[in-house]
Amino acid sequence: MSNDLPQSAYLKETRSYKNNIQVAFGGYHKAKRPIEDNELTHVGPGTPCGEYFRRFWIPVALGSELSDVPLRIRILGEDLVVFRNKQGTLGLLHLHCSHRNASLEFGVIEEQGLRCCYHGWLYDVDGTILETPAQDSKLSEKICHGAYPVVEYLGLIFAYMGPPDEQPDFPKWDTTMLPDVEMVPYSIHYPCNWLQICENTMDPWHTVFLHARVTDIHFGDTWGIAPVTQFYEKPHKIYATLTYRIEDKIWVRSQETISPSFSQVGAWWETGREEKYFKRASITKWTIPHDNENCMIIAWRSFGPGVDPEGQGD
């Protein structure tokens, strides 16, 4: 799958694919699938999109996934291990020990850090090497293991994986601070690229067909009504609106996508039949790449009288 071609190659491929002879029973002319747009989809270290993601605080795991053994994860094409030391401090380290590359997923969590199983090197949560037992050199003073800053917030573990001098403050999203709303963390793995999962929120018409007209009604019965859709823009933010005529009511739903891959959506069970004002998100989520071909939605599901008026969520 390696085709880190310059953007021009992708555009050339797009043009040639579009220019293929278009005839009925002409599958032969389109049999070869075109390459992907790697500028937007590839996320490993050093890739343009990977660098973009590495400017933001992003959620990487659920707090509930941590236990008394390290948790191995893959984020933006990097293999990592996340753990909570016995003092309760979180650490996020590169997976492979700086000594001889054994995986720290088999390490032992100690008071202050994580000890590699192979030769006992001990790592602090910031990558400092605390011990290199039996080594007669001062190796540990010359090396710092790869580590990232971590914040745990409302049951999600966030990391900043970019250049240290570019690190932004940790944001306090308004919808995480609403009164009477319970934020329940969840994550779902998808065996595909992150962008096609992230795009869904900016595809307002899929709700009409996928969620109402083609097979089943998945959410409210009014979702099959054709909405008027509009878009609004601010720096690093796009808003899609879906506006429905529901008898003598007008239902205006806005949803957003914010850099790098944050989005929110309104109540799943909303039908637009009752007068209401400024009811907030029922899902606050990120689409986070594990690598080019795997990603997760990692999110909070919000429960409360405002976002789930009929109590249908659980």
Binding site: E36, Y52, C192, T215, V228, T229, K249, R253, S254
Partner: protein
């Protein structure tokens, strides 16, 4: 019910039997089946796909800005309350006899203008400002002129 690989609405995890997923496809089926990396070159985007095209354009610009050495704007970096704008508002405004679509567009613009206007405030103050202004729209003559004197 809500946790690791689990959420309380259907069709998100691909864990149902294959035949069931074929007969009752949902988000997971549609999105994952686009391919391991969706090949945009084989798509044919149309008028319903403006948001997708828009998102990709904006993403490409943001990616290239980072490549060009730009820093994120200060508004994206400060750890103050980060305002978001996802919301539902349902207004009792009767159908327009000749051009309801235009009415829906105008009402949407008015709703979003109020929602963005609240950006100068924060917390509960913002919410009550936005809510009270939105409440005035149902009596706003710009949107109710077609209703007559009732």
């Amino acid at each position: 019910m809500v946790g690791k690989n689990s959420v309380d609405f259907p069709g998100q995890t691909g864990q149902e039997p294959y035949e069931y997923r074929q007969r009752h496809p949902n988000d997971y089926e549609a999105q994952v089946s686009q391919g391991s990396i969706n090949a945009h070159a084989a798509e044919n985007l149309g008028s319903t796909d403006k948001g997708v095209a828009y998102l990709r354009r904006k993403l490409r610009r943001a990616i290239r800005a980072i490549q060009a050495g730009e820093r994120l704007p200060e508004s994206e970096r400060a750890g103050e309350e980060f305002l978001t704008h996802t919301q539902d508002t349902v207004l009792p405004i009767p159908i327009h006899p000749s051009d309801d679509e235009q009415l829906l567009k105008d009402v949407t613009d008015a709703v979003m203008e109020i929602v963005f206007e609240g950006d100068t405030l924060g917390g509960d103050e913002r919410a009550s400002f936005i809510e009270s202004k939105l409440r005035t729209l149902k009596n706003d003559t710009r949107f109710t002129a077609h209703c007559g004197d009732t």
